[in-house]
C-alpha cells in the first residue's frame, strides 16, 4: 500500500459513513477513484476480508469497486467469489451504481473476460440455453482499449458461439458466426480461424447445400492458409454439391479420420441426412404426388433395406418441422405423398408481429450504422486517405446527392430544421449588409446542396484563418444558405482570397455553373462540352467582397483575375499534419467523397452552436 493511502479501516469507516446517494456520488466516488489498486487487495486490521464488512445493498458502489478488483485478480472459478457476485447482482442498489457507470462497465467486462472462459465452461458444462440470449445480441462494436478484450477473444467468442448454435441446430446463425470468425481482419492466419472454417464448410453444406463464398474482405493470408489446411473439407464439399449419394458416401469414408480428429464427424453425418431432406425438397418442385416407393428410388435410397419406411419417417419429420407441406395417404398400397403449397397466407396477426419486430430491428441497425458512419468519417486516418482522392468537377454535387440517396433524408431534414432554420432566418438581416454579389442564381440549387457548400465555406474559413494568423480564431465566419452570401474575416482584418482556394462558395458556384452548362449541351457535342470545361473555376467567377468592409480594415484583399486555379496552397493541404488539426479540419469536407452530408452535419451542428448563436 502506498504510504499516502489511508488504511483499510479508515476506508471502511468512510464508506459506511456515506449512506445516502448524494453523499456517495459527491464524496465517495472521487475518493475511491483515487485509491490505488493495492488498497483493494489489502486486508483490514483484523485480517478479515474488507469486503465482508460491506453490505451489497447499502454500500453498492464500494462493493462494486472491490468486486471488480477481485474479478480481475481471480483466474478461475471460486465458489465464494461467485456467491458474492450472485448476491451483489441480485441486491445491488441501482441508484448508487449509476454515477460510477464506467466502473460498472469495467465490472461487466471483467465478467465478460470470464465469459469467454465461461463460454468454454458453458460448452463444457453444456448449459447452452443460458448462452443463447447473450449470443443473440450481435456484437457490432468492440472497443479494445476500454474493455481489454483482445483479438483472440473475439475469434474465440464467435467460434464457440457458432458451435453452440450448431449444437442447437440453428445452422443459419452458426454459419454467420463462423463466417465472422474467418473473415476477421488478420495479418497472420490464426488456428482458430482454420478450425472455424472447417466447421463453416460443414454447417454451410448442412444449411445451404453448398459452401457460401467467403466475403471479399477476408484476409488473403487467411485464404491461402485455408487452401493449404482444409483440403479434405473442400473435396468433401465439391463431392456434396454433385448430389450423388454414392460419391458422397465414398468421400465421407475417405476423410473420416480427418473428421474424427477434428471432432467434426457428427456434423458430417448430419450433412448426409440433410442431403436426403434436400433431395425430397427438390422433388416438391417437380411433382404434385409421388408414391413413397418412387421417392425412395429417386433420392437414391432404394438400395437400402427398409428404405421406404425410412423415407416415410423422414417425410413425416419434415412435415413436423415445416420443411415441406404434404400429406401422406395409405389408400393405395405403399403410400402416396401429395405435396401441397404453403398454406400460410400471411394474413394473420403473427405475420404482423413478425413485420413489426423486423422493422424495429432494421431501424435500430440503421441508427447504429449512421452513428458508425459519423465516427469513422471524423477519424484522422480516414480524412488523410480521402484527401488524396482526385478533384473532379461536379465532385461536391455528387456527395450531396449521395448523401441524400443514402437515405439520410429524414436525418438531414431533422438537423436542418432543428439547428439552422431559426438561425438562418435571423442571419438574413445581418447579411443584408454584406454585399457579396453573385452572378449565380442560388435558387437553382436545392437546400441540402447549399447546406453542403456553406459548411465547406465555413470550415475553409476557419482553417485558412488559423493558418494565416497562426492559430487565431476567425473574427467573422458566416454563410447564408438561402442566398449563398458569405463572409470570412480573420483576426487582424485579414480576409482570405476565397477564389484562390477550393471548397469555397465561389468554387462551388462555378462548378455548378459548369455542370449546368454541360447539361444544356446537346448530346455528344464535344465542342460544347469543351467550351463549358474551359471555364476555369475561381478564375472566371471573381466574387469580390464588398470593398467597403475590406478597406475599412488594414489589409486589402488581393486581386483575383490572374491566378489559375492551381489547387491548394501547400500550407493547408500539402502538409498532412495540418489536416489532423482537430475534428474541425475542413479537409473533412474536401476529402470524404461519400459521407459528406453526414460529416458536415456533425461538424455543422458544432459550428452552428459555435458561430451562429
Amino acid at each position: 500500500m502506498a504510504p499516502t493511502d489511508p488504511s483499510i479501516d479508515e476506508i471502511i469507516s468512510k464508506i459506511q459513513a456515506c449512506a445516502d446517494a448524494t453523499s456517495v456520488a459527491k464524496t465517495l466516488t472521487p475518493f475511491l477513484n483515487n485509491l490505488s489498486d493495492q488498497v483493494f487487495a489489502a486486508r483490514s486490521h483484523g485480517q478479515t476480508d474488507p469486503i465482508d464488512a460491506l453490505s451489497p445493498q447499502l454500500h453498492s458502489l464500494a462493493y462494486l469497486y472491490f468486486l471488480v478488483h477481485r474479478c480481475k485478480a481471480s483466474h478461475g472459478f471460486h465458489p465464494a467469489l461467485m456467491e458474492k457476485i450472485w448476491e451483489f447482482v441480485n441486491t445491488c442498489d441501482g441508484e448508487q451504481i449509476r454515477p460510477a457507470s464506467n466502473k460498472a462497465f469495467v465490472f461487466a467486462e471483467a465478467l465478460v473476460k470470464m465469459a469467454t472462459e465461461s463460454q468454454q465452461t458453458c460448452l463444457l458444462a453444456q448449459s447452452f440455453k443460458d448462452a443463447i440470449p447473450i449470443l443473440n445480441n450481435d456484437i457490432s462494436d468492440v472497443n479494445p482499449t476500454h474493455t481489454h478484450i483482445n483479438y483472440k477473444d473475439f475469434l474465440l467468442y464467435h467460434y464457440y458461439g457458432g458451435m453452440i448454435y450448431a449444437y442447437l441446430k440453428n445452422f443459419e446463425r452458426a454459419v454467420e458466426f463462423f463466417k465472422l470468425a474467418v473473415s476477421a481482419p488478420a495479418e497472420v492466419a490464426s488456428a482458430i480461424q482454420i478450425e472455424a472454417y472447417k466447421k463453416y464448410v460443414l454447417t454451410g453444406l448442412l444449411q445451404y447445400g453448398k459452401v457460401p463464398i467467403l466475403p471479399k474482405y477476408t484476409a488473403t493470408v487467411v485464404q491461402r492458409c485455408l487452401k493449404l489446411q482444409c483440403g479434405p473439407y473442400t473435396d468433401f464439399a465439391t463431392a456434396y454439391e454433385k448430389k450423388s449419394n454414392n460419391v458422397i458416401k465414398a468421400e465421407l469414408e475417405k476423410i473420416k479420420p480427418v473428421l474424427v480428429r477434428d471432432k467434426n464427424y457428427g456434423l458430417a453425418k448430419q450433412c448426409m441426412e440433410a442431403l436426403h431432406r434436400r433431395n425430397i425438397q427438390d422433388l416438391t418442385r417437380t411433382y404434385l404426388t409421388l408414391s413413397i416407393k418412387d421417392i425412395t428410388s429417386l433420392i437414391g435410397l432404394s438400395s437400402e433395406a427398409d428404405g421406404e419406411s425410412r423415407v416415410e419417417g423422414i417425410i413425416v419429420r419434415m412435415i413436423e418441422s415445416g420443411a415441406i407441406f404434404a400429406r401422406i395417404s395409405h389408400e393405395h398400397a405403399g403410400g402416396m405423398v401429395s405435396f401441397l403449397d404453403d398454406p400460410n397466407q400471411h394474413n394473420s396477426m403473427s405475420t404482423m408481429d413478425i413485420i413489426s419486430t423486423q422493422i424495429q430491428r432494421a431501424t435500430a441497425i440503421t441508427a447504429s450504422l449512421v452513428a458508425m458512419d459519423q465516427s469513422i468519417s471524423s477519424m484522422p486516418a480516414y480524412l488523410n486517405k480521402g484527401l488524396h482522392m482526385p478533384d473532379r468537377a461536379g465532385f461536391p454535387m455528387d456527395e450531396a446527392d449521395y448523401g441524400m440517396n443514402m437515405g439520410y433524408d429524414a436525418y438531414a431534414d431533422e438537423v436542418m430544421i432543428a439547428s439552422f432554420s431559426s438561425r438562418v432566418l435571423g442571419m438574413l438581416a445581418v447579411f443584408a449588409t454584406i454585399a457579396c454579389v453573385s452572378a449565380f442564381n442560388p435558387m437553382s440549387v436545392d437546400n441540402s446542396t447549399k447546406l453542403t457548400w456553406c459548411e465547406n465555406q465555413i470550415g475553409f474559413c476557419t482553417n485558412v484563418c488559423q493558418e494565416l494568423t497562426k492559430g487565431a480564431q476567425c473574427l467573422d465566419n458566416r454563410c447564408d444558405i438561402m442566398n449563398l452570401q458569405y463572409s470570412c474575416q480573420c483576426q487582424g482584418g485579414i480576409i482570405p482570397n476565397t477564389t484562390e482556394y477550393t471548397y469555397t462558395i465561389p468554387y462551388f458556384m462555378c462548378v455548378a455553373d459548369v455542370q449546368q452548362c454541360i447539361h444544356e449541351c446537346p448530346l455528344s457535342d464535344n465542342g460544347c462540352y469543351s467550351n463549358c470545361n474551359m471555364r476555369n473555376c475561381a478564375a472566371e467567377f471573381p466574387k469580390k467582397y464588398n470593398q467597403t468592409i475590406a478597406t475599412s480594415l488594414a489589409a486589402t484583399p488581393t486581386a483575383t483575375n490572374g491566378p489559375q486555379f492551381t489547387g491548394l496552397p501547400p500550407g493547408i493541404f500539402g502538409n498532412a499534419a495540418n489536416i489532423n488539426r482537430g475534428p474541425q479540419s475542413w479537409a473533412a469536407f474536401g476529402g470524404s467523397s461519400v459521407l459528406g452530408l453526414v460529416v458536415f452535419l456533425t461538424v455543422g451542428v458544432m459550428f452552428g452552436n459555435h458561430h451562429m448563436d
Partner: protein, 215 residues
C-alpha cells in the same frame, strides 16, 4: 440474501405434486446452480437431477436434457436406477426424433420401471405428452394411415387402438381396409387486429409505395 436452497426445494415439491412441470424447470435449474456452485451439497443432487430431466423431457427440450445428462457426474448415474432409466428414455426419444422409430419401447420402459412417488406424476405427464404430440403429428401428416402404424404410436393394443382413437379424437375408421382417417387439427383463430396496428400497417405500405415511386 438469495433464496436458500431448502426453500426452493419446498417450492418445487409443491409444484411437482400439482403436476405443474413448467414451473419446475427454472426452479430446478437455479437449484442446480446454487448447489453445485455455492452451497455445496446442501441438498443431494440426485433429487434434483431426476425431476429436472423428466421436466425437460415433458417440455420436449431434448437439447437441454442432453446437456444435463452430460453434466451429471458418473457416480450419480451408477447410484440411481431411476436416473438411468430416464437417461435411456432420453436416448430413445432422440432416436424417435431422428428416425421416426418405435415408440412402443419408450412406453414399455415408462410403464415397467418403478418410480418413486415424487416422480410418478411427472412420468404420467411424460407419457401423455409423448402420445399427444405423436398423434397430432399423425393427424397433420396423414390423410389415411394403416391401423398398425397408429397403434405403434400409442400405448394400446392394436385392436383397441382404433376404437380408442375414434372415440377420443374423432378419427374415422374403415375396418375393411384397416385404415384410419385422422381429422386435421383445429386451426387456432387469429386474434383480432386492433385499429392502431391497422394504422401501422397502412403507414408501412404507404412508405413502401413512396420508396418505390422514388426509385
Amino acid at each position: 440474501m438469495t433464496v436458500p436452497a431448502q426453500q426452493i426445494v419446498e417450492q418445487a415439491d409443491a409444484s411437482l405434486k400439482a403436476g405443474r412441470f413448467q414451473e419446475l424447470i427454472p426452479l430446478y435449474e437455479q437449484l442446480e446452480f446454487q448447489i453445485s456452485a455455492i452451497e455445496i451439497d446442501a441438498v443431494p443432487l440426485n433429487t434434483i437431477y431426476e425431476p429436472l430431466l423428466a421436466s425437460y423431457l415433458i417440455a420436449h427440450d431434448l437439447y437441454s436434457a442432453r446437456s444435463l445428462v452430460h453434466r451429471i457426474p458418473e457416480e450419480y448415474r451408477a447410484q440411481a436406477p431411476q436416473l438411468a432409466t430416464l437417461i435411456r428414455v432420453l436416448e430413445l426419444m432422440r432416436q424417435w426424433e431422428r428416425q421416426n422409430g418405435n415408440l412402443k419401447d419408450i412406453y414399455t420402459l415408462l410403464h415397467q420401471s418403478r418410480w418413486n412417488s415424487s416422480l410418478a406424476p411427472l412420468i404420467a405427464l411424460l407419457q401423455d405428452s409423448i402420445q399427444d404430440r405423436e398423434l397430432d403429428l399423425l393427424a397433420k401428416a396423414y390423410t389415411s394411415l394403416p391401423v398398425q402404424l397408429a397403434a405403434s404410436r400409442i400405448w394400446l393394443a392394436e385392436d383397441t387402438a382404433a376404437e380408442q382413437l375414434v372415440a377420443s379424437r374423432g378419427w374415422r375408421y374403415d375396418a375393411t381396409a384397416g385404415l384410419l382417417y385422422p381429422r386435421a387439427p383445429e386451426v387456432t383463430p387469429n386474434r383480432a387486429i386492433g385499429l392502431q396496428e391497422f394504422g401501422q400497417l397502412a403507414d408501412i405500405v404507404a412508405h413502401l409505395e413512396v420508396k418505390q415511386d422514388a426509385s
